[in-house]
């Protein structure tokens, strides 16, 4: 165990810092500190130009294995990139589903043609991806997928019918990967296939879902005779469940530390607000702010324990608790932020800092629901880590 940073790591940190300072300026200034679509000041078109700027610096795909990656960075340096990115105020990454979920899956399970066709667009920040997993009847119970796809022998290609929901960035994406039932007689995990489908076609309708924040970050996607090419199944036809789960496995990794750098920024906003309005003198709020700061440092060390584990080994204990721990910590921070704002917490036209804290309070309610609810997380911990019966 040691917490020292090597000279090479320190030099790399300085390199990222300098690059960010030089490039996150001028036309990109409005994006600074804007975490995502529900944050005040978000602009999707500008966010895509920013992705292309990142691509020009060789910063997209730094976590990909082998030759697909623009630079082969060791894990510690990937972590440093994500930390410095957020520290510099780097905006929420509109390309992250393509970069961190689809691309590693393409590299592991895709054909050479699929890789040649799709990886360059992701790496260049010119092609964007959405995830088509959840359905109205398939949330926590994802295997209950009802969206169907069938090969049209006459015209060639897949024809899709059904509906996906909670699809982030659908309006701003070009493609969607869809978990669909390709064997009509199958049930549960069998007979599913992961299909790559162009989003902008007449067989697809996209409707925004207005969230409790007032913004629309998620969409419903309706498939009504939508089409894609016969070769665009990722992995074997009928084995989609396996590929879909492998894809979710890529979610853990270095970017966790970037997320925590963002949390640190939010905690800093809460502390600044408390110092500015006198809440810092309230004994109970002082205790809660201290606990929030300590909790975040615990998450940091927990992530370092996960990253230190051997990726070829079964998931370590620290990894099982990570999602439950960070999502509940973040939700508590949201509530703390409102208590710190005090009697003006309900006033919607305060300064930008207040609006960001209000947005944090509402947006954080989704953390304990998406990507496995609190209840699903506890089931996973009990059954997989503690070996309790299913």
């Amino acid at each position: 165990m040691n917490l020292h940073e090597s000279a090479a790591e320190q030099a790399f940190r300085a390199e990222v810092k300098a690059w960010m300072a030089e490039h996150l300026s001028g036309e990109f200034e409005p994006l600074r500190g804007v975490n995502g679509p529900s944050a005040p000041g978000f602009d999707a078109a500008l966010a895509k130009q920013w992705e292309q700027c990142l691509a020009s610096g060789g910063w997209i795909g730094i976590g990909w294995p082998g030759e697909a990656s623009p630079r082969a960075l060791p894990l510690a340096q990937q972590v440093i990139f994500h930390e410095e990115y957020v520290r510099a105020g780097g905006p929420g990454r509109i390309g992250h589903i393509g970069e961190t979920l689809l691309a590693p899956t393409l590299i592991a399970h895709g054909t050479a043609e699929q890789q040649q066709r799709f990886l360059p667009g992701i790496r260049a920040g010119t092609e964007y991806w959405a995830q088509g997993y959840s359905e109205p009847g398939a949330g926590s119970d994802l295997a209950n997928v009802r969206t169907r796809a069938a090969l049209d022998e006459a015209a060639g290609g897949w024809v899709l019918n059904g509906q996906k929901v909670w699809t982030s960035w659908a309006q701003d994406s070009d493609w969607i990967f869809v978990l669909a039932r390709t064997d009509p007689s199958s049930v549960r995990h069998r007979g599913l296939t992961l299909l790559l489908v162009p989003l902008h076609q007449s067989g697809i309708t996209i409707r925004p879902i207005r969230q409790i924040t007032g913004a629309a970050e998620f969409y419903e996607v309706f498939f009504d005779g939508a089409r894609t090419e016969a070769s665009l199944h990722l992995g074997t036809v009928g084995e989609g469940w396996k590929v879909a789960m492998a894809l979710l496995g890529f979610e853990r990794g270095a970017s966790t530390l970037g997320q925590q750098a963002h949390f640190r920024h939010e905690l800093g906003m809460v502390i600044a607000a408390a110092r500015a309005n006198g809440a810092a003198r309230d004994p109970l709020l002082r205790q809660r702010i201290a606990r929030a700061a300590l909790g975040l440092q615990m998450l940091h060390f927990n992530a370092l324990r996960v990253l230190a584990s051997d990726a070829s080994q079964p998931q370590p204990p620290a990894a099982f608790i990570a999602k439950y721990a960070w999502s509940n910590w973040h939700r508590d921070l949201g509530r703390l932020a409102m208590d710190v704002l005090g009697e003006v917490a309900d006033i919607a036209d305060g300064d930008l800092q207040s609006q960001r804290l209000q947005s944090l309070w509402l947006a954080s309610r989704s953390d304990t629901i998406y990507a496995g609810t609190n209840e699903i997380q506890l089931n996973l911990i009990a059954e997989r880590a503690l070996g309790m019966p299913r």
């Binding site: 917490l3 600044a272 370092l304 324990r305 230190a308 009990a382 880590a385 070996g387």
Partner: protein, 379 residues
């Protein structure tokens, strides 16, 4: 940066786990706790033979010269078994304070016996910064000491007492004295956590020669601060062990206890309680390992007092919460037998409570962190 245990650290954990599972079983612990002096002497000798009593003490004084990470790993395993040995009082509290504060002569005089487990030392005051009401007056190169130290762990078992006091002009002083010195009264107080002994110490005008003073002044105060931080991290590691064992016991019990025709481990209400215990345990483990690594890193880097304080608070807060939560859940998940003397959960429940108040409670640590974040100049 790396938070994985290295090969030698893994070896320490495995060895301690194996030795203590056997030597500090529930029946051995209960027998020792009910014994005359509350110490499992056979276990203590085995630990001394492994060199554990000097794990973080300097090699020049007969120690192993290892770090706070290794100290914490041992503490974690001792906490899992509630081992009835004065390791925390003697090695962690007194040993660390002597290491940090005492002059070379005093170190040479006391530490080798401590590191060998031949001597047991007790620190008479764990409370915050000041030295209570005890005061010492100089007397021709000697000292006269008077004071009350109401709670001193293992003082009745110790052959060396560390007594903090202040001079009449407020200077911090630390005396090392034999418990047999005339005018010193040591009265054991019964504890609810029977695996830990403590005593009240009283000095009624005790005359001490000049050698008894082992450290003084601002240097002592800084050393006390460092030693308390290290001891608090080590105490947190013990609390982590308590929490882990409560989880392990509860899951094992839930898997074997059958009600409504199936093991209660199959019920979601039970599974979720156990899962939440694991969240607390692993969170505390991350906090304790990170804080211990930070202690070792900070020592190398020359010591950053604020960072040390912050990480000590982290370990103490997370581990205290985990131990108290898991001990309470262990009683609940064991149902009726969890309320009996025969089953072990109450032993852990009592230890969790006792440890929560040593070296300052959670609220004090949090306030210290709050002051860093909210009161100083803006970072």
């Amino acid at each position: 940066m790396d938070l994985a245990l290295d090969h030698d650290q893994r070896l320490i954990v495995d060895t301690a786990e194996r030795l203590l599972a056997d030597a500090a079983s529930s029946s051995a612990t209960r027998a020792a706790a009910d014994g005359a002096d509350g110490i499992d002497h056979a276990l203590w000798q085995q630990m001394a033979a492994m060199g554990w009593c000097g794990v973080h003490l300097p090699e020049a004084q007969g120690g192993l010269g290892l770090g706070i990470v290794e100290l914490a790993l041992l503490q974690e395993q001792l906490g899992r078994r509630l081992a009835c040995v004065p390791f925390f009082d003697s090695v962690v509290l007194a040993g660390t304070l002597l290491r940090e504060a005492a002059n070379a002569q005093a170190q040479g005089r006391w530490l080798p016996a401590l590191a060998a487990g031949e001597s047991i030392a007790a620190l008479a005051d764990e409370s915050e910064n000041d030295s209570g009401t005890a005061h010492a007056t100089p007397d021709n190169g000697a000292w006269t000491l008077a004071g009350d130290w109401p709670r001193a762990g293992s003082a009745a078992q110790a052959d060396l007492l560390l007594l903090p006091a202040r001079s009449t002009d407020g200077e911090a002083l630390l005396f090392a004295v034999a418990p047999t010195v005339q005018g010193l009264q040591i009265k054991e107080r019964p504890t609810i956590d029977r695996t830990r002994r403590c005593a009240a110490v009283q000095a009624l005008g005790v005359r001490l020669d000049g050698h008894a003073l082992v450290a003084r002044g601002p240097r002592l105060e800084a050393a006390v601060r460092r030693a308390r931080g290290i001891a608090a991290v080590a105490l947190a590691a013990e609390q982590l062990g308590v929490a882990q064992q409560c989880l392990t016991m509860s899951v094992a019990y839930a898997k074997e206890r059958v009600q409504f025709g199936q093991p209660i481990a199959a019920f979601q209400a039970v599974k979720h309680r156990c899962a939440q215990m694991m969240v607390a345990v692993e969170g505390a483990r991350s906090a304790v390992y990170g804080a211990a690594a930070q202690c070792d890193t900070a020592v190398d880097a020359g010591g950053d007092a604020a960072a040390l304080d912050f990480h000590t608070a982290l370990a103490r807060v997370e581990a205290t919460e985990a131990a108290q939560f898991c001990a309470q859940e262990a009683i609940q998940l064991h149902g009726g037998v969890g309320f009996t003397w025969e089953y072990d959960p109450h032993l852990y429940f009592k230890r969790a409570q006792a440890s929560s108040q040593r070296l300052a409670p959670v609220s004090v640590w949090c306030e210290r962190v709050a002051a860093q974040l909210l009161d100083g100049p803006t970072a």
